[in-house]
Amino acid sequence: MNQVEFLEIVSPFKDKLYRLAKRILISNDEAEDAVQEVYLKLWKAKTNIKNYGNVEAFAMTMTKNFCLDRLKSKQASNLKLVHTNFPTSGNIERNLEANEGVAMVLKILEDLPEQERIVIQLRDVEQLEFSEIAKILDSNETAIRVALSRARKKVRNLMIKKYNYGIG
């Protein structure tokens, strides 16, 4: 397989990988690095790519694991996560300033535990079926529904709290 053929297979889901990486790592730069790393790993394993069945799900799992490892090693080395979400690469952030409520939701998402962030990302943002999410996370549908419900309620409750005190 040459690079052109490889890129044809793996490019369509680059945004999905990036969004997942960013949901876990928060920082744009780190998310971009993570996606590049995942693609490099996929490229090195390209001879097996046809055996992976669903390459996209496989790449999503790789991204999730890679980012969680990154977080872990960062916490281990006691480095504080630096949020570099200034309007450098994303123009979304800038547009969001107009809508404080939305910025608040995204901030709340950042503060959720990683696993809850991941299920919200895969379900609400990427709109994947529970069966697909279960496959990516190597879990079962019930556990995912439970985690998802918990995460959604947390977002709702924090939103209501802030909404009533803040901009309401």
């Binding site: 040459n2 690079q3 490889f6 890129l7 793996v10 490019s11 680059k14 945004d15 990988l17 990036y18 969004r19 960013k22 949901r23 971009e32 996606v35 590049q36 693609y39 490099l40 490229w43 690469s89 994303g90 979304i92 547009n95 969001l96 809508n99 409520g101 939305v102 910025a103 608040m104 939701v105 995204l106 998402l109 990302q121 609400d124 943002v125 990427e126 709109q127 079926e129 529904r145 439970v146 998802l148 419900s149 959604r152 309620k153 977002v155 709702r156 939103m159 209501i160 909404y163 309401g168």
Partner: protein
């Protein structure tokens, strides 16, 4: 979409019991419809999720540069040079095993001087043995004149 249905879907949504179709209905409603005040607090959630969905990976995917034909040729050339240098080196060293007349002469001289040194050291050892005998005299004298 009637309000009661939306409220019911919202409840199910927070329980994790909606399917993708239900969730699309909710999204469409909160993004497009005129949302009544008592549901307005949920709007940012769906707007925020929609915004998150629009993020894009803005880099090119970086893969290692493929090896060009020129580079592959270069590798073969490098291997050829290595093999050649071993061959040349081998021939050179095997030749150097045959000694020139001067080297033979030097070697002979070296053997001769080795023999001479050996003889010298043997005689030295003999001398040392005799010296221990002299010491014996000393001991005996000490005993006598105690």
């Amino acid at each position: 979409m009637e309000l009661a249905k939306i409220e019911q879907l919202l409840d199910a949504y927070f329980e994790g019991e909606t399917n993708l179709k239900d969730e699309k209905i909710l999204r469409d409603y909160f993004l497009n419809e005129n949302v009544p005040t008592h549901l307005l607090q949920y709007k940012p959630i769906f707007v925020g999720i929609e915004a998150a969905h629009k993020e894009r990976f803005q880099q090119e995917i970086n893969l290692p540069k493929p090896e060009t034909a020129a580079f592959t040729n270069l590798k073969y050339i490098a291997v050829a040079i290595l093999v050649l240098s071993f061959l040349v080196g081998g021939v050179y060293f095997s030749q150097s095993n045959e000694l020139t007349p001067e080297e033979k002469e030097a070697l002979a001289a070296f053997e001769e001087s080795k023999k001479a040194m050996l003889l010298l050291s043997q005689n030295l050892n003999k001398g040392a043995e005799r010296l221990t005998l002299v010491n014996q005299f000393g001991n005996a004298k000490d005993k006598v004149f105690e």
